[in-house]
């Protein structure tokens, strides 16, 4: 049963990326932690692996629509390396409880943002990209 619920959350995570521009990662982490017995740290690490193919598919779609300059995206991605190192090292150093509370805060921030919608205002249907910022 728990596996079914985890799968449903992942399905929802994939679907909302297209609908709301909120990435699936925020649902993959609880799916892994609550239903698949991962620790918070394992859930966060494993969520990142699920995000990789999602982001590849999303980028491919956007590229096909001519929305993305791959060089710009890759530049930001490559320049992120020091940040990723800091984030991963800190995540491994923090107690589990701190990670849980930090992630809970992130969920609440995203919830508030969804309730208020994006500061730029909701995009018109024809402007809405197929898959928005996954993760």
């Amino acid at each position: 049963m728990d596996v079914v619920l985890a799968i449903l959350l992942a399905l929802a995570g994939g679907a909302v990326g297209g609908l709301l521009g909120v990435g699936g990662g925020i649902l993959f982490v609880p799916a892994l932690a609550v239903f698949l017995g991962n620790t918070q740290l394992e859930a966060e690490a494993t969520s990142l692996l699920v995000i990789v193919p999602m982001a590849i598919i999303g980028t491919w779609r956007q590229h096909r629509h001519g929305n993305v300059d791959l060089r710009e995206g890759a530049t930001i991605g490559l320049l992120s390396v020091p940040g990723v190192i800091v984030g991963v090292v800190v995540a491994n150093a923090l107690p589990q409880r701190a990670l849980e509370l930090g992630f809970a805060a992130l969920c609440l921030i995203v919830a508030v943002r969804l309730l208020r919608r994006s500061p730029a205002g909701p995009p018109s249907p024809e402007e809405r990209p197929a898959v928005r910022g996954a993760g």
């Binding site: 994939g14 679907a15 892994l32 530049t75 930001i76 609440l108 995009p123």
Partner: protein, 119 residues
């Protein structure tokens, strides 16, 4: 000025990377608003963010993997419905009221937060 632009990209990338490594999310939540502030349109900002996330998430996965934190079997189990979900989301996009989905998703996130906060 291209140098200036690279510095801004670096700042955005580093911030998103730290967010991603720390929380296990892609980092789009910080990248998209920052790219919009740089003058990107919403569509281009989200597309560029997705492209950066491929590298960010792959590198963060590798690094977390070196710590032994990645459960590959569980990841594969979720990848299949997650990718299927993208298709469903795209198909449903024009038919589902965005406001209702936003509300539902916000409630779901509040439940998740409560679950995490209450020991």
């Amino acid at each position: 000025m291209p140098g200036n632009r690279t510095i801004r990209f670096a700042a955005i990338g580093i911030l998103a990377g730290a967010f991603s490594g720390l929380f296990g999310v892609g980092g789009g939540i910080v990248m998209v608003p920052l790219l919009i502030m740089l003058g990107f349109g919403e569509r281009r900002a989200t597309a560029t963010s997705l492209c950066a996330i491929v590298i960010i998430a792959a590198f963060a996965t590798g690094l977390h993997g070196a710590y032994g934190n990645v459960r590959v079997g569980d990841a594969v189990l979720l990848m299949i419905p997650a990718v299927a979900g993208v298709g469903i989301g795209v198909a449903a996009q024009q038919r589902i009221p965005e406001r209702a989905v936003s509300l539902l998703f916000a409630v779901l996130l509040i439940v998740v937060a409560a679950e995490l906060i209450i020991p």
